[in-house]
């Protein structure tokens, strides 16, 4: 009997169940809607407008990448899988079968996280790549180069935060959805220091900071922080959320499983 083998089995089980879950259909729909939106936008451009790459890049950045994609698409895609990863097992009560196996609880949670991460990152990163390709080639190349790191870091941070939600709350998907669509949006748009509690503030700060020289201007009240600080804070969100989730998960009695 090998603990490592059991752990790898659990990671694989997580990946397999998430890919074939109804959530995949749930996230494909908003991603397809984004694709249609960009496709229609590009085809409605006037010929003279089409050659103004700097203007297209700024519009694509402000309207799509920093607003629609960062504020809504990334958190929704991340929560669809991250809350289901352990929250689905909790709601369906199958978590019980995992907790009675001789795998330390910290490793159970780590397996869930590691099983979820590649799905979320490849789905969000891959769809972002696809959306960029709808734009003219110079815009696509620049957007990918500037924004992909922020997109990936935000995805990882959201996966961590939503795992914490799943460990803490039974109906974590609903709570995470309300949090993403209200708290993240409202907090991230608040003037002053309160917005620093929102994950998307740091992701969007990175985007504004990196794209400033390309004509992308942040709103006056946004007060983006520099890229290194934003990256550090996203790492703090990731590590902090998973550490807290691990502490809670290791100690918690899940009385609602049977």
């Amino acid at each position: 009997m090998s603990l490592l083998r059991a752990w790898i089995t659990l990671i694989w089980l997580t990946v397999r169940r998430l890919i074939w879950s109804a959530n995949t259909l749930m996230v494909v729909l908003p991603l397809a809607a984004c694709g249609v939106f960009l496709f229609v936008w590009r085809h409605n451009m006037e010929p003279q407008e089409y050659a103004d790459y700097a203007r297209i890049f700024a519009q694509f950045s402000n309207v799509f990448v920093i607003t629609i994609f960062s504020l809504f698409v990334i958190p929704v895609c991340a929560l669809a899988y991250a809350t289901t990863s352990i929250g689905g097992d909790r709601e369906e009560r199958t978590l019980l079968f995992l907790l009675i196996r001789p795998i330390p609880r910290a490793m159970v949670l780590a397996a869930k996280f590691l099983g979820t991460l590649p799905i979320v990152v490849s789905l969000i990163g891959g769809s972002f790549y696809g959306f960029c390709q709808i734009m003219p080639a110079p815009v696509a190349d620049e957007a990918l180069r500037l924004y992909l790191p922020s997109v990936v870091l935000m995805s990882i941070a959201y996966v961590s935060v939503f795992h914490l939600f799943a460990v803490l709350f039974r109906h974590s998907t609903i709570i995470a959805l309300v949090y993403s669509l209200s708290m993240e949006t409202i907090l991230g748009a608040m003037p002053g220091i309160i917005k620093r509690l929102a994950v998307n503030f740091y992701g969007r700060s990175m985007m504004y900071d990196l794209a400033r020289d390309f004509g992308v201007q942040e709103p006056l009240f946004f007060q983006a922080i520099d890229t290194v600080s934003a990256q550090t804070m996203l790492a703090v969100f990731t590590i902090g959320s998973m550490s807290l989730a691990t502490i809670v998960f290791v100690r918690k009695e899940y009385r609602d499983l049977s």
């Binding site: 009997m1 090998s2 603990l3 490592l4 083998r5 059991a6 089995t9 659990l10 089980l13 169940r17 074939w20 369906e92 009560r93 199958t94 019980l96 079968f97 995992l98 907790l99 009675i100 196996r101 001789p102 795998i103 330390p104 609880r105 009695e253 899940y254 009385r255 499983l257 049977s258």
Partner: protein, 304 residues
């Protein structure tokens, strides 16, 4: 290997789940018997490391049941009906087996063995979503057996199982007990399984009322009324003699059967033996009718 409860108390907030329970469960079949809400599931959850005691210790062998190490030593069949429904029974049991760290080929071998033991080998290729309640119980039992644990914890394993399945289950438990396994299962239908139990834990309102074999427990209740049916040719004469005995509380006659209620079982039986010899009574049958598990439990619960 023993399962030990040492002064175990479990609170759910202000509500007490089990109250100062101490017992040691060794090899053989032990039934945990009590009404709904008595604390059976709490005890099983404590034993399977799902809950931690508020006070006291629950040990699997020498290890705390909450520890990861203890989880290798027991198999647990929960009372829930939740599975990975999209899997077949075979896939589910194999996956659960692999979560013990077995290589794929070994996990498959153990899965087939477990499926064979629970009588599901020929039906395990179907998806769990289409399984009946009884088949689900068997699959739960199979996943608990794959790693050949020393201790088996079964929470209401007979719920939804048909009579044929129950007979199979009895046979399986007897085999496992012969192999030296410690088996604890909760039930609220003790009368159906008392024949296969080596001992019984009777629990009510979170307290352990009694433990031991049913006859041992019954002997503790010497001052409780016992009902005895006596078939005699001259039932009226037998009844009149019985009424003169100080241990007899009441007598009823129905054709050739006398039903006696006695307050002291330990002196009643020697006394009636003497009476039969002295009076040359023609008695064809004598049996207790309330020595069964349910009656014993009722007495204990009333006295608790």
């Amino acid at each position: 290997m023993n399962l030990t409860f040492q002064n175990v108390t479990k609170f759910y907030g202000p509500v007490i789940g089990v109250n100062d329970i101490s017992c040691q469960i060794g090899p053989g079949v032990t039934a945990l018997f009590g009404a709904n809400g008595a604390g059976k599931s709490t005890m099983i959850k404590l034993a399977s490391g799902q809950l931690r005691p508020s006070q006291g210790n629950v040990n699997i062998g020498e290890k705390s049941s909450w520890s990861t190490a203890a989880k290798r030593d027991f198999g647990y069949s929960p009372d829930i009906n939740s599975f990975y429904e999209e899997m077949t029974g075979r896939e589910f049991v194999t996956t659960m087996s692999r979560l013990y760290g077995y290589a794929s080929s070994e996990a498959k071998r153990r899965t087939e063995l477990a499926l064979l033991r629970v009588g599901m080998a020929d039906r395990a290729a179907r998806r769990i979503a289409g399984y009946s309640h009884g088949m689900r119980q068997r699959i739960k039992l199979a996943q608990a057996l794959t790693h050949d644990p020393q201790i088996l914890l079964l929470d209401e394993p007979l719920t939804g199982v048909d009579p044929g399945g129950r007979a199979d289950f009895h046979q399986l438990l007897a085999q496992l007990a012969d192999d030296g396994k410690t088996i604890l299962f909760s039930t609220h239908m003790l009368a159906e399984v008392e024949d296969i139990c080596d001992s019984v834990l009777m629990i009510s309102r979170g307290r352990l009322l009694a433990s031991g074999s049913l006859s041992q427990i019954r002997s503790l209740l010497a001052d409780q009324p016992l009902t005895v049916e006596i078939a005699a040719v001259d039932a009226r004469h037998v009844a009149s003699l019985l009424l003169q005995m100080p241990e007899v509380r009441s007598v009823e006659i129905d054709q050739e059967t006398v039903t006696v209620r006695t307050t002291n079982a330990s002196t009643f039986f020697p006394a009636i033996n003497e009476l039969v010899v002295e009076q040359q009574l023609d008695i064809s049958r004598m049996q207790t009718v309330d020595e069964g598990a349910d009656a014993v439990f009722s007495y204990l619960e009333a006295g608790a």
